[in-house]
């Protein structure tokens, strides 16, 4: 086997890959290649998804690439990552059927609303009402409701896709401690799917149901749009329901003080 000289970056990368599944090494790889994910995500702008959401999808592709990369093969990681990220972005559009089902007018309105929300939230220091959003965007309240509905019109993800398709955002990987796991154990005992949820989904569940944060507060906390939080909650609750099945299962009585 011929030993070729590797540029310094590549040497470091190999070292980082060698340390996997170490969280720090993973976070460092994410940090290095996030610009690539962002760059590729931008290529899908203007297709009815917010830039934030696209970066999330691209980041998921990056995470998958990091986990699946085989350093034994004679392929540069950046090449492999680019292919994986593009695949994830394309699959996102194909799976969601977004551009097919949601009329362009509503997609655009959804984006406009989405980009208005943070400003309104800042100004009012609370979640705006439908009328306030409508007035700011210059449409009727009915239009706002319709666009909100459309933004939720993503295909309902099944259990497995919920767990594998929508990965953790890089920001989650960098977080130090994750109290959500211990607290959510109560739910996980009756719905094991909770354990398999991606970090971001778990965090959203935890913040909404155990910390009592509003959707807007969660959006600020984890750095995604309110609409995205709303979508994550709807899909995650649905996945949990599907997993639990019919009939009521009584939750185990865990330490209540964990929740405060």
């Amino acid at each position: 086997m011929n030993v070729r000289r590797l540029p310094l970056d590549e040497v470091e990368e190999r070292e980082l890959f060698g340390r996997l599944p170490d969280d720090e090494a993973r976070a460092e790889l994410v940090r290095r290649f996030l610009p690539l994910a962002e760059y590729l995500a931008r290529r899908f702008n203007g297709r009815g998804e917010s830039a934030d959401d696209l970066v999330q999808v691209a980041s998921l592709g990056l995470l998958n690439a990091i986990d699946r990369f085989d350093t034994g093969r004679d392929v540069q990681f950046s090449t492999y990552a680019a292919v994986t990220i593009l695949g994830e972005l394309k699959r996102h559009f194909r799976d969601k059927g977004w551009s097919v089902r949601v009329p362009r007018r509503l997609q655009e309105l959804g984006l406009r609303i989405n980009s208005t929300l943070p400003t309104l939230y800042q100004e009012l220091r609370r979640s705006p009402t439908i009328d306030e959003i409508a007035e700011r965007v210059g449409v009727s309240g009915e239009d706002v409701l319709e666009a909100m509905d459309a933004s939720q019109a993503y295909s309902t993800t099944s259990l497995d896709t919920a767990a594998s398709e929508d990965g953790a955002a890089p920001v989650d990987l960098l977080g130090e401690d994750d109290p959500s796991i211990a607290v959510l154990e109560e739910w996980a005992a009756v719905a094991p799917v909770v354990r398999r949820l991606p970090q971001r989904e778990r965090t959203v569940l935890y913040l909404r149901f155990f910390r009592g944060l509003t959707q807007s507060e969660i959006a600020e906390e984890i750095g995604v749009s309110q609409m995205h939080v709303s979508r994550i909650l709807a899909q995650t609750l649905r996945a949990i329901r599907d997993a639990v099945g019919p009939g009521d299962v009584v939750l185990p009585d865990l330490e209540d003080d964990l929740t405060d």
Partner: protein
């Protein structure tokens, strides 16, 4: 505080079919939008309707699923009901079940009830949008 004003009752029945639940969600959101209810609250309301409807649809034998929304300046009182067979529902531990916990986080005054031939889930969603959160 302005006096409580009754804004009427909206009710609608659909076939007991998960594919129609979005209609109930939409109706609830539309009624909520008439109040100064925050986007967060409207979204919570949708999730709550979804959760309650899904729970009721799991009961066997239901043909209809209906919603009744009583609106006032104070908020909404939502009742979702089905004509399903539910002799043993809700059980004594209902408050320790996942649907209950989820609904209790999304709304107030949650109640799971069974009456002659029907099973119902009720909850309230109060108008909170004008309380400034600090």
């Amino acid at each position: 505080m302005p006096a409580l004003r009754d804004l009427g009752v909206v009710s609608l029945a659909i076939p007991a079919d998960p594919n129609h639940v979005h209609i109930l969600r939409g109706v609830a959101a539309s009624v909520a939008a008439r109040l100064p209810m925050s986007l967060d609250d409207v979204d919570d309301l949708r999730l709550a309707v979804d959760e309650a409807a899904a729970r009721l649809l799991q009961l066997p034998g239901g043909r209809r699923l209906s919603i009744e929304i009583a609106a006032s300046t104070d908020g909404l009182e939502v009742t979702i009901e089905t004509d399903a067979q539910a002799e043993r529902w809700p059980g004594p531990d209902v408050k320790a079940t996942l649907p209950w916990k989820i609904l209790a986080a999304l709304g107030d005054h949650v109640a799971f009830e069974r009456r002659e031939g029907t099973a119902m889930i009720r909850f309230r969603k109060r108008v909170t949008s004008f309380e400034v959160r600090v």
